[in-house]
Assembly symmetry: C2
Amino acid sequence: MKISEVCRLCGVTVSAAKYYVREQLVHEGVRVGANQTSYDESHVRRLRLVRALIETGGLSIAAAKRVLSELDSSERSMYSVFQAAEHAIGVGGASVAQPGSEVARGRIAALVAEWGWAATLDNPGLDFAARALDGYTSIGFDAPHEYLAAYADAAATIARADLLALATREHPDLIAELMVVGTVLGDALLAGIRRLALQNEAAALFPPTETTQIRKERPE
Amino acid sequence: MKISEVCRLCGVTVSAAKYYVREQLVHEGVRVGANQTSYDESHVRRLRLVRALIETGGLSIAAAKRVLSELDSSERSMYSVFQAAEHAIGVGGASVAQPGSEVARGRIAALVAEWGWAATLDNPGLDFAARALDGYTSIGFDAPHEYLAAYADAAATIARADLLALATREHPDLIAELMVVGTVLGDALLAGIRRLALQNEAAALFPPTETTQIRKERPE
């Protein structure tokens, strides 16, 4: 197919696609005439992945190249691709997490240990969560253990769903694409659904007739 | 106490505090001399709440006033305060959610109905979640029902923890403060912890020896 067709299928402009080819993020097409180059499904898959890395994941060209070189390595393991992508994708729109306090980092690390998670301390989520805890501390809310436990349980539930979704895809490019998009959009999906759930809980905890005092127990 | 002491306790500058008093977000102190005004605990609580609304929640002065007038109303219900705050606080850093497609909005609304949540269609979470779904659709991932179900379960778990945390506070100003801060920081805490959980699930789904194909079942 022509590059314009590839671009239409991927939702990128022709100039962006040519730029990604020049930067070697996408492999070149096959020259089939003096003025014509032919592209196939493999270009569609790769261009979609590049778009996911750069537009959705917010990666620099250099960072995207590192993820793609993991993916194209003959020694590739999807875990190493996952690690390269996750390390490069910022959390909450921040490309580099500000470090949390030692106390907060320690509490999140203890949570990870208690839940038995195979997660490493260089995971950008650690500082991001720790900084949120620091914010709670600054308003005098010390986020008791059962509060963090609920968050850990919730995170485990959705992480399992996210990884099972990856298993529905066969081609490594498509798996990597959903990894990146799911990491970013999963946060947004959850933040949105959480708002709806919060409204429901607020309606239960603060019944409309309630005017002065918050009830300690929820009405059945 | 002096205004400088109030500001120290709240972590705001004196000029910001004076501005909030002038804008009637915080009540005036008691004049105790020609050049001296005295403030008390009630000013500390209110100034902290104003800081949470404006700095953490990202509300405009006008929106913060609306939330505070709900809070100060003689007819106040904490539910109406909650609604005013939640409506004003954007999701994911966006003050106004772009509308999702009708299909995606319909799927999120159906999820809310299935979970039996008392949530209304003007909840900003609806469009935010719907737009995330639209993003998934654009990469050919149609987010099957069990995927959305995991997200809804997770959201219910943390929303319950969030609202129970509010019940640990007695004063309406403090309850409202934690509502606002918890709505914003809860998303960040969850996004961070989710990253740690994702790494754990990836390690299980993509064992290090795996080089080519993603496994459909997880090793025990």
